[in-house]
Amino acid sequence: MNLPQYFVLAGILIVVVGFALRLNPMIVVTVAALATGLIAGKGPLEIVSLLGKAFNDNRIIAIVWIVLPVIGLLERHGLRERATATIRRFKAATAGRLLVLYLLFRQVTAALGLNTIAGHPQTVRPLVAPMALAAAEQQHNGIEEESAEEVKAFAAATDNVGNFFGEDIFIAIGSIVLIQSTLAGYGYNLAPLDLAIWAIPTAIAAFLIHGFRLLRLDRRLKRRRK
């Protein structure tokens, strides 16, 4: 391998530096794409077409925003406030325990192939984050802004961990299909179930590790109040 081959990695450098300097990611990504394409010897028209085709092929990512009018309308009628009030009735609820339950729910439903029923716009913003905040405020008689930010961040993190480390137990998910087709290309013909079963140990480990950290979050919130 000779040195000039490494020049195509310039795009990665642009992304890393751009994110580190907190420049607008939309510009950083565009510049990185143009630079990488030019270094690889592609013409400007070709690069713009490549970007356009890839953007167009990935429009499915935008479908999830279709839920926003429903979520917004429910918020208008007090959904987040209702979620908060419901949690206040459970005296034993803490932010950490609530999120452990959500982690379990998310892993189990994702393992059944239902990973699109929950998510950041659908469940975290309207329900999980306000509930976790309400539980934390109730338990500690109000919390600092720093803690509120942390509880919200952990609500989002819990959704990701539950989703990622539950979905691969389901046999018809994209990543299992990708593993199967990649390995089949080398002559290893595996059934989806052969692969899905090996996702179970990691799913259990993810539950234990993240669950432990959620319970520690409760203790950290408590310490900060003193």
Partner: protein, 316 residues
């Protein structure tokens, strides 16, 4: 047949409405920036299949320019006050949760009914896309129920939707931009270079060190691409298949399945996985754009170590 284009068109009409309502919002100093941005999204969703690659590319550049040069503001549609919401929450009670559950319930019931009953054999819906189409149907059903029950003003769902999409801003489009960047990286051969470099540092004959380089390569490449799917074929070709499976006789199912999950640990730690890590920070209005990632690193690193040990003990 009902194709995914139906869902694109529905989302496109919604973004088109956001654009028009943005243009009319005099309270937003940058209202025409918002109108142009959401209008271009509407155009992409409605007409992207017919515009051609180059025009779509120009559309992408325009979106980046509007967002990057700070031409977007935040719309302030009229909504209920905090006091009104508390009163409504009390009056309406737990029934408020039901419409929120309609969307997942319809998506679930529809998908299951379509897959496991003779309904699916009719071929009404584009294969593999039924969940997305039932998600749209669920959203429409929830809206119908809300209109019948609460009788909001006709424009309320679109105005409330605009309130949320403006809170997210350009971050709503970033995941698609990053997917496009990944395609350019792949076309430029970035994957081959990284795979080759990873292979070059491996000492011969040590299974654990080979596995370690494979795992760290998966994590690093996933963090760069924002997606384990892009990393897996590259690292499989460079290390997993020739070295771990063929030379060291590792179990391909274990290496494949847990190898992918190693990549997911990387997804938890990168802003490039924008829809999981950056969009929620905007949705939850966090002050720190990297707040979600910071909350995840403490789970991702120990889980990475567990995954490496699992492969080592289960595959060899």
């Amino acid at each position: 047949m009902i194709t995914i284009q139906w869902a694109y068109s529905l989302a496109g009409l919604m973004f088109g409405a956001f654009a028009i309502l943005s243009a009319l919002d005099r309270a937003n100093r940058k209202r025409f920036g918002n109108a142009a941005f959401w209008g271009l999204m509407a155009l992409s969703l409605l007409a992207g299949s017919w515009l051609g690659d180059f025009v779509n590319g120009l559309l992408v550049l325009a979106l980046a320019a509007i967002a990057g040069f700070g031409l977007m503001g935040r719309g302030v549609p009229a909504t209920t006050s905090e006091g009104e919401r508390l009163t409504l929450a009390h009056q309406l009670g737990n029934r408020l949760f039901l419409p929120a559950l309609i969307i997942p319930a319809v998506a679930l019931a529809g998908t299951l009914a379509y897959k496991y009953t003779p309904l699916g054999a009719q071929g009404w819906i584009e294969p593999q896309r039924e969940t997305y189409l039932f998600l749209c149907l669920g959203a429409l059903a929830a809206l119908a129920v809300l209109f019948a029950w609460l009788k909001p003003p006709a424009a309320a769902p679109l105005q409330e939707g605009r309130r949320l999409i403006d809170a997210i801003g350009w971050a709503a489009v970033l995941p698609q931009m990053l997917a496009a960047l990944g395609v350019v990286f792949a076309a430029a051969g970035v994957g081959d270079v990284i795979g080759g470099a990873a292979r070059a540092v491996i000492p011969e004959g040590n299974v654990f060190l080979t596995l370690l380089v494979f795992a760290l390569g998966m994590v690093l490449f996933t963090m760069i691409m924002g997606n384990a799917f892009a990393a897996f074929p590259v690292m499989a070709a460079a290390i997993a298949v020739p070295l771990l499976i063929q030379a060291d006789h590792g179990n391909p199912a274990v290496i494949g399945a847990i190898g992918m999950l190693v990549g997911f640990c990387g997804t938890l730690m990168t802003p490039m996985a924008a829809n999981f890590n950056v969009v929620p920070a905007a949705l939850l209005e966090l002050k720190d754009r990297n707040g979600v990632i910071k909350a995840q690193v403490g789970t991702a690193l120990p889980l990475l170590a567990v995954n490496i040990l699992l492969i080592y003990f289960l595959a060899f």
